[in-house]
């Protein structure tokens, strides 16, 4: 399986090259296409394949902001990976696409050779499923698309496809439509398919999702809380509730959160700025080694999109950290997480928003100008998860101009 996985596509390509260059005349039937036409069709279908890969890469880069169209199964499901692929796009499977197009071209040369080629392509598809690197949808779509681009290439070159239905009956299909029209059709369908996938929340056509047994492929599958919120259905509802109560009491008694400090800090922070919402504040007395200290975790989100919102998140973070240190003099450390509340086509974050800024700030080591000013730089890619768990570096361009921000001020107060 692993050998087929690694080598099926070049084997098929070599077979095609051998058919075009090396076959003796006696093997080629009288009504078979000329080898020059077959060569042209192979070049065309290679170009179409490269265009497909390029189009999907470009779509990911420009429209999805660097996110992939569909995640690999080993990121989202319990699978055994027999090979290791990079975490790139899974839909469609490009290798099966190439294999299918080569097999179809071989079919145009001689149907029986083509059947062998298609068997190898099918084995490659099964290898992709067996090795756990693609979904069934990806392999099926790759095979269909590969056959389609080879079919269009054959149509442009005027080569018919012959299907041996029985040993005596042959079905001869000569594409009627002209080359330019078929290219146009292909481009339109490509645009349609990519647009369709982009509009589908999990980037997989819902029809094909049935092949996964009704399960949708999400990067971070989250369980909807419907069953636990429904008050009048299940018999073990009280059991569920008691468990939840146990969790809540756990949080107060065992984990050492300080509800009053949390409430106070939240009340101070939540009306600080407009266009911003504090999602949660946690304060706790914790111990590192033998040193006890009070630590706060603040989470907030900011409305907006792009680099402007990104800068604003940083500015709001700086403001909130300053205010929190002022509000509670016992707090030694603050962990802050800023998010944009739009999803920005992200497939990784299915809920909550896109985290854009994280920092851990010690009261003693607040830093004004950091070497890593790029953290707040405008040219960083806003679609990607850029996250630095480090000291908060306040960019002077981001901070409001009238703010003075020395660390000593906090130590005094």
């Amino acid at each position: 399986m692993r050998f087929i996985y690694a080598a099926a596509v070049p084997i098929l390509a070599t077979a095609l090259a051998a058919w075009i260059l090396l076959t003796p005349r006696s093997w080629i039937k009288a009504n078979a296409p000329s080898r020059r036409a077959l060569l042209a069709a192979s070049c065309l279908s290679l170009i179409f394949g490269a265009l497909t890969i390029g189009a999907i890469s470009a779509f990911e880069y420009f429209a999805l902001g660097g996110e992939v169209l569909s995640h690999r199964p080993f990121l989202t499901h319990f699978v055994t990976s027999l090979v290791m692929e990079p975490n790139n796009n899974s839909f469609p499977c490009f290798e099966v696409m190439l294999a299918a197009s080569f097999a179809t071209l071989l079919w145009a040369g001689r149907p029986r050779v083509g059947i062998c080629g298609w068997l190898l392509a099918a084995a490659l598809g099964i290898a992709h499923l067996y090795c756990g690197t693609n979904f069934t949808v990806d392999v099926a779509a790759g095979a269909i698309w590969g056959a389609a681009i080879a079919g269009v290439a054959l149509a442009i070159c005027g080569i018919p496809l012959v299907f041996p239905v029985t040993t005596k009956t042959r079905l001869r299909w000569k594409p009627r439509f002209q080359g330019a029209a078929s290219v146009l059709l292909m481009v339109i369908s490509l645009i349609y398919v990519t647009g369709w996938m982009a509009n589908t929340p999990n980037h997989l056509p819902p029809l094909f999702a049935l092949l996964h047994g009704g399960k949708s492929a999400q990067a971070a599958p989250m369980i909807t809380p419907k069953s636990t919120f429904n008050p009048d259905t299940s018999s073990n509802d009280s059991d569920q509730k008691s468990r939840e109560m146990l969790l809540l009491t756990d949080s107060v008694k065992q984990d050492g959160y300080l509800p009053h400090a949390q409430k106070y800090l939240l009340s101070v922070l939540q009306n600080q700025q407009t266009g911003m919402k504090v999602l949660g504040v946690n304060v706790a007395e914790v111990k590192s080694g033998t040193t006890p200290y009070r630590c706060a975790a603040i989470r907030f989100e900011v409305n907006g999109n792009g680099n402007a919102a990104r800068k604003r998140v940083t500015a709001v973070a700086a403001h909130l950290v300053k205010t929190a240190f002022h509000a509670d003099s016992k707090i030694n450390h603050i962990d802050i997480l800023g998010m944009k509340n739009n999803l920005e086509n992200s497939t990784l974050y299915t809920e909550g928003g896109t985290p854009v800024f994280t920092a851990s700030v010690d009261r003693d080591s607040l830093i004004l100008h950091g070497s890593r000013a790029w953290l707040n730089a405008a040219d960083t890619n806003p679609g990607l998860w850029l996250r630095a768990r480090s000291l908060l570096y306040f960019n002077p361009q981001v901070l409001p101009s009238n703010e003075v921000f020395p660390a000593k001020e906090f130590l005094d107060k």
Binding site: R2, Y5, A6, P10, T14, A17, A18, L22, G66, F74, L75, T76, F78, V79, T80, S81, M84, P86, N87, A219, A220, P221, M222, I223, P225, R243, E244, L246, L247, D250, Q254, D255, L279, G280, N282, A284, V286, K287, S288, G289, T291, A297, R299, H333, D335, L337, M339, L348, Y349, T350, G352, G353, T358, S360, L384, W385, L386, R387, A388, R389
Partner: protein
């Protein structure tokens, strides 16, 4: 240089020329394809994505450790539940909170590598990717841990990173069950997720920065033990 059609045919219709062309084309095909998808990386990179389901074990792993607020809480929760976990540490945090890292190791937990700055590897230049992994390995070694496990931040992985891992014998540490607690998420939701989806051999991915994750530990452990599962540290793979 003007070739007539006849001259062209006498050269290019020769069997020897065709064989030569075929050999050149074949070499191009194989070299090109294996440059695009290097087979030694596909087949040779060490990786762990789940444990053996037959052994009835699960592994708890925490990303983005250590964290000033939640790591002490997690350690307390783990101690109460009497389990050990694997903490995938960010090198920056290790430098900032060495005491917390010491606490993690001291309690019998294991450290793994979660890069130096928690940058998505696919966004970095090739020259930056190596140090991003190596610096954190060096820090872990300084703290007394030995590991080959590396978990890429955000799951970002490309051919360059795979090549580096192959050349430096680094094991890719994936997960098999992920609840997504990097975003604010109530504890009962986390627990519910694992109650619905936990299976033998799972490598559970949780995050150290999640403020309700510590509360979710003991219910998860209880649930797993009710199903007869044992908790183990994440294995090193086939190094």
């Amino acid at each position: 240089m003007n070739f007539s059609r006849q001259q062209f045919n006498t050269v290019f219709q020769q069997p020897a020329t065709k064989v030569l062309l075929f050999l050149i084309l074949t070499a191009l095909i194989w070299i090109g394809y294996f440059t695009w998808r290097p087979p030694q990386l596909l087949l040779g990179v060490n990786h762990v994505e789940h444990l053996d389901p037959q052994t009835q074990t699960v592994a708890l792993t925490f990303d983005d450790a250590p964290h000033p607020l939640t790591t002490p809480m997690l350690l307390a929760a783990l101690k109460r539940a009497n389990v050990n976990a694997t903490f995938f540490c960010v090198g920056d945090n290790l430098q900032m909170y060495p005491q917390l890292a010491y606490d993690i190791v001291h309690q019998g937990n294991k450290l793994g590598n979660h890069s130096q700055n928690h940058h998505n590897l696919t966004t970095l230049q090739t020259a930056q990717q190596g140090p991003e992994m190596e610096q954190c390995f060096a820090l872990i070694q300084k703290l007394g841990g030995t590991t080959h496990l590396f978990r890429p931040p955000g799951g970002g992985l490309d051919w360059r990173a795979l090549r580096y891992m192959y050349n430096h014998n680094i094991t890719l540490a994936w997960w098999s069950n992920n609840v997504g607690d990097w975003a604010p998420m109530p504890a009962w939701k986390i627990v519910n997720h694992f109650r619905n989806s936990l299976r033998p051999g799972d490598i559970i991915l949780l995050h150290d920065a999640g403020t309700s994750t510590p509360q979710a530990i003991s219910p998860i452990v209880r649930e797993a033990r009710e199903r007869g599962l044992r908790f183990v540290l994440m294995p090193e793979g086939n190094n």
